[in-house]
């Protein structure tokens, strides 16, 4: 018997959220003071939610892995944030933003959730401007917009190439304001070790203090996980080094279902891999595709000369270049969605047309735009990105075209949540990239920031009250309950086990091996044979890890090796679930490309008859096959079509 109830409100699409808010339960001010909420994560979703809960009058405890909430990985988002303001008067509307998002996600997201996201998008911009976020402006002093992939309107607000930084600092300042007022208590440098369930309800968490190693118990009436995505399963990704999937993985093991784990976004414009010691990949904002043209040589022999260094890109004649995105997708050109752009790059490189010393790179060329607009215009739009590229690659992108290649960037999958962002464990909520909700099988550019802030500022502050209204009789939860004692003991045993294996292989060596298995088999192209093999390889890796890993140091101090080991142990299991999900989804949709299911032109082939559902996986025990539940996706208000960017 499945527990999946998406709780979508009745009524017309544009009335659902209004109706929900009009009829939901609320908590009165004197009761709010008596209710505790734990928020894990201080990125856009976590910081925005915690600040808003504090303003409402709840007792809030926030936990983060960094030394400061300002360092959460939302900080690194570059390009922008979407909203349906229609300031440029170019035909945008809430419906169009909704439609583009659901189409961009290849019709694998819930209508009601996505519509709400589009509906609150405008309030986010208002909120951020009021906080002092210095968005780009035109000479009349009004807000400026740029265009992004998957849209035919300009609806992206931006702060140079540092939009994520500025939005996070806005949320961080709101959070700091509440910390100063003592409505919110901040716990820095804490790793979530477990979620504590009492009588079927989420009642607290176990964390490890990363400085002292102390294992701490914290209780609350509700717990929000806003801990980001799990792209670091692949070892190399654009995620920060400490970004991890452990919090949502612990929640999954405690009974929260995991939604669409295989939906991973491979971002088309990243700096190519250069060496085995490489620790992470660097993204070049998608906004660059506004003015950059993507190409590879038309002839194999030219590509070979370029790889050998005997021919320079700039010397290749115009007619010998293949602007393959403009050729294949004339309507959207270089601004096709990310999944389409990534696959097209892989296709050209696999066919032997790739450039760079490895052949795993394509050009992103600004020469035409510099000719058309002048170097200073390009510099004002992308100056910091060009500087970043030059520092890493040691080549001037104003003079030579950039070299880019796809890299793992974002995970659309995550903890399954209903319309209220509540997981299958009552009292446990998931927000931002940590949940699966709004992006379907592919996220459009500039929509992650929108979703994080929407969940944090404008959705959770309402929906969490609908739950907490039933908790007002419950006094502060005691942390000496047997469930807390047990969870703490399990955590300590786990740490002890890792520290005493004393094998011969470093933690990183396992992470690298896992990354390779994932990239080769659960990456841009997937097939039955590869996925079946990946599951086997990952299971073997897990056995090897628990027998032969070497974790130095002790638990009672700063110990980065132990932190990594705990995370990699979870990544290994998560990787297996991703492969299982990818194997069971016998269709191609969005970022999930099954090689068996494609059109003769190599485009993704969806199977709406059999796969218009969310796969929600239930944990059944260690080394036991998990069970998949299906949440059917019903499209009442839009017609489901084949995505076409031609």
């Amino acid at each position: 018997m499945t527990k999946l109830n998406p709780k979508i409100p009745n009524g017309q699409l544009d009335q659902k959220w209004t109706n929900y808010k009009a009829h939901q339960n609320l908590v009165n001010p004197s009761n709010k003071r008596r209710l505790d909420i734990i928020v894990v994560g201080t990125g856009l979703a976590g910081a925005a939610a915690a600040a808003s809960f504090g303003e409402l009058g709840f007792n809030v405890k926030v936990f983060g892995i960094h030394d400061s909430p300002r360092r959460a990985h939302s900080i690194a988002a570059q390009g922008g944030i979407n909203a349906a303001k229609n300031y440029p008067n170019d035909g945008d509307s809430v419906f169009r933003l909704f439609y583009d998002t659901i189409k961009g996600g290849d019709y694998r997201a819930r209508e009601a959730n996505v519509f709400r996201l589009a509906e609150v998008s405008n309030s986010i911009i208002d909120q951020c401007v009021a906080q002092g976020v210095p968005f780009a402006r035109d000479y009349g002093g009004l807000l400026d917009n740029r265009s992004f992939g998957g849209a035919q309107v300009s609806r992206t607000f931006y702060a140079r190439g540092q939009t994520g930084q500025q939005l996070l600092l806005g949320a961080y300042s709101a959070l700091s304001k509440e910390i100063g007022k003592k409505t919110v208590k901040m716990y820095t440098r804490r790793d979530l070790m477990d979620v504590v369930i009492v009588d079927g309800l989420a009642r607290g968490i176990i964390v490890r203090n990363l400085i002292t190693g102390e294992i701490e118990r914290h209780s609350a009436h509700a717990v929000v996980l806003a801990t980001g995505g799990y792209g670091n399963v692949f070892f190399l990704s654009t995620n920060a080094m400490s970004s991890n999937g452990s919090a949502i993985w612990k929640a999954y093991k405690k009974g929260a279902f995991f939604g669409n784990p295989c939906f991973t976004q491979i971002h088309p414009t990243c700096i190519p891999v250069h060496g085995e010691y490489q620790s992470k990949l660097t993204l070049m904002s998608e906004s660059l595709r506004n003015d950059g043209r993507i190409w590879v040589p038309k002839k194999l022999e030219d590509a070979e000369k370029i790889r050998k260094g005997t021919l320079k890109a700039g010397n290749l004649k115009e007619e010998d270049r293949d602007y393959y995105l403009e050729r294949r997708y004339p309507a959207f050109g270089n601004l096709v969605p990310r999944d389409v752009a990534s696959r097209a790059a892989k296709e050209r490189c696999d066919a032997g047309f790739g450039v760079g010393t490895t052949g795993l790179a394509v050009y992103l060329d600004f020469a035409d735009s510099i000719k058309r607009l002048g170097k200073n215009v390009i510099e004002s739009r992308y100056g910091n990105l060009f500087q970043m590229y030059e520092k890493i690659v040691d080549e001037n992108p104003y003079e030579n075209p950039m070299m880019i290649y796809p890299a793992v960037h974002y995970t659309m999958g995550g903890i399954w949540v209903d319309y209220e962002l509540q997981t299958t464990i009552p009292g446990l909520f998931a927000a931002g990239e940590a949940n699966f909700s709004d992006h379907g099988a592919n996220r459009l550019g500039a929509s992650a920031l929108m979703q994080g802030l929407s969940d944090g500022y404008f959705v959770l502050p309402y929906t969490i009250q609908n739950y907490l209204a039933n908790q007002i009789q419950i006094p502060t939860i005691k942390t000496d309950l047997p469930e807390f004692v047990q969870a703490e003991k399990e955590t300590k045993d786990l740490i002890q086990k890792l520290l005493t294996i004393n094998g011969k292989n470093t933690v990183d060596s396992y992470h690298r091996k896992l990354g390779l298995i994932m990239w080769d088999n659960v990456g841009m192209g997937r097939n039955k044979e590869g996925l079946t093999n990946a599951i086997k390889l990952i299971q073997e890796l897990k056995v090897d890890f628990w027998k032969n890993v070497k974790v130095t140091g002790t638990n009672d101090q700063v110990n980065p090796e132990l932190e990594k080991a705990l995370r990699v142990a979870d990544f290994i299991e998560l990787g297996e679930l991703m492969a299982r999900d990818a194997l069971s989804r016998q269709e191609s949709c969005g970022g999930h490309f099954r090689e068996e299911y494609q059109t003769p032109e190599g485009e993704a082939l969806r199977d709406d008859k059999d796969f218009t559902f969310v796969s929600a996986w239930e944990y059944k025990g260690d080394n036991v096959e998990p069970e998949m539940h299906k949440e059917p996706l019903v499209f009442e208000f839009i017609e489901v079509k084949q995505r076409n960017y031609k």
């Binding site: 925005a48 600040a51 303003e55 960094h66 030394d67 400061s68 909430p69 300002r70 360092r71 990985h73 900080i75 690194a76 309030s123 208002d126 909120q127 951020c128 401007v129 009021a130 906080q131 002092g132 210095p134 968005f135 402006r137 035109d138 000479y139 009349g140 002093g141 009004l142 702060a159 540092q162 930084q165 500025q166 300042s173 700091s176 304001k177 910390i179 100063g180 920060a240 400490s242 250069h274 060496g275 010691y277 490489q278 992470k280 660097t282 970043m388 520092k391 890493i392 040691d394 500022y457 404008f458 470093t506 060596s509 070497k550 130095t552 140091g553 101090q557 700063v558 980065p560 090796e561």
Partner: protein, 251 residues
């Protein structure tokens, strides 16, 4: 390239630290500085020794987690970048590189190269925000802002809170950090409303936490990875002075 590393090792804030020498071999010029430290650490772990602890996260120069004096300079010899963006092509085969944690009283060492920068958070909590609540906000375009002011505010807002300014300053002054936040809000109409109170609160907190004063050496600007201008300090001094002249309250 082969290198000798002279690295500060300190088990915790409670014990004394010392320099320890390490050798690394065959480092690629394309590797980043932190990747070079990764290679060292992986070799230490393989030998069963404790790796060197250092703060880092995004590795693309935006989170502000990485720090380090490299040969005596915050974020190393190159300008306008963080340690994580520094590549080994800036060093020569056979060189000795000295690596230390930030040294400033308000940034105590936690372990090895990690320091505690929570004092920066405390300064922001004292006033580095606009006191708006979530919701009930007028349309974002209802107050036009001159583009020049928006750009100057953005220049200041680019601060990543890494602490290089404090580390570079002989007085361990946090004036560049504080003035960047004060300036961002002072330049925008949304921030003007509380401008007088904000600057006084933040400066009072900065003094309380033991940061030194500014003596105009501009070392902070020279070492700032985001090249935040010292003109922000001048703006903060103006804001502070005028606030003090007409203030109703003592902070």
């Amino acid at each position: 390239m082969d290198l000798t590393l002279k690295i500060w090792r300190q088990a915790s804030s409670k014990v004394k630290g010392q320099f320890v020498n390490y050798q690394v071999q065959n480092i690629s010029a394309e590797a980043s500085f932190l990747e070079m430290l990764d290679i060292l650490n992986e070799s230490l772990v393989a030998k069963g020794e404790e790796p060197v602890a250092f703060d880092h996260d995004c590795r693309e120069g935006i989170c502000g987690a990485c720090s380090l004096y490299i040969n005596g300079r915050p974020h190393g010899p190159d300008r306008g970048i963080t340690t994580c963006q520094m590549h080994m092509r800036n060093f020569k085969h056979g060189e000795t590189i000295i690596i230390e944690p930030w040294r400033a009283k308000p940034f105590p060492v936690i372990k090895d190269l990690m320091v505690d920068r929570s004092s920066f958070d405390e300064i922001i909590q004292a006033g580095g925000f606009v006191s708006v609540r979530t919701g009930g906000i007028p349309d974002a375009n209802s107050i036009p802002i001159p583009r020049r002011n928006a750009e100057l505010a953005m220049d200041a807002a680019a601060c990543i809170g890494c602490g290089a300014c404090v580390a570079a300053c002989k007085n361990a002054s946090a004036m560049l950090f504080v003035s960047a936040k004060v300036s961002q809000f002072a330049l925008l109409p949304q921030g003007r409303i509380e401008a007088q109170e904000r600057v006084q609160r933040m400066v009072a907190k900065m003094d309380e936490l033991g940061f030194g004063n500014c003596t105009n050496t501009y070392a902070c600007e020279a070492e700032c990875p985001k090249e935040i201008s010292v003109s922000n300090i001048a703006r903060m001094n103006r804001e502070f002075l005028s606030a003090k002249l007409i203030s109703h309250k003592e902070f």
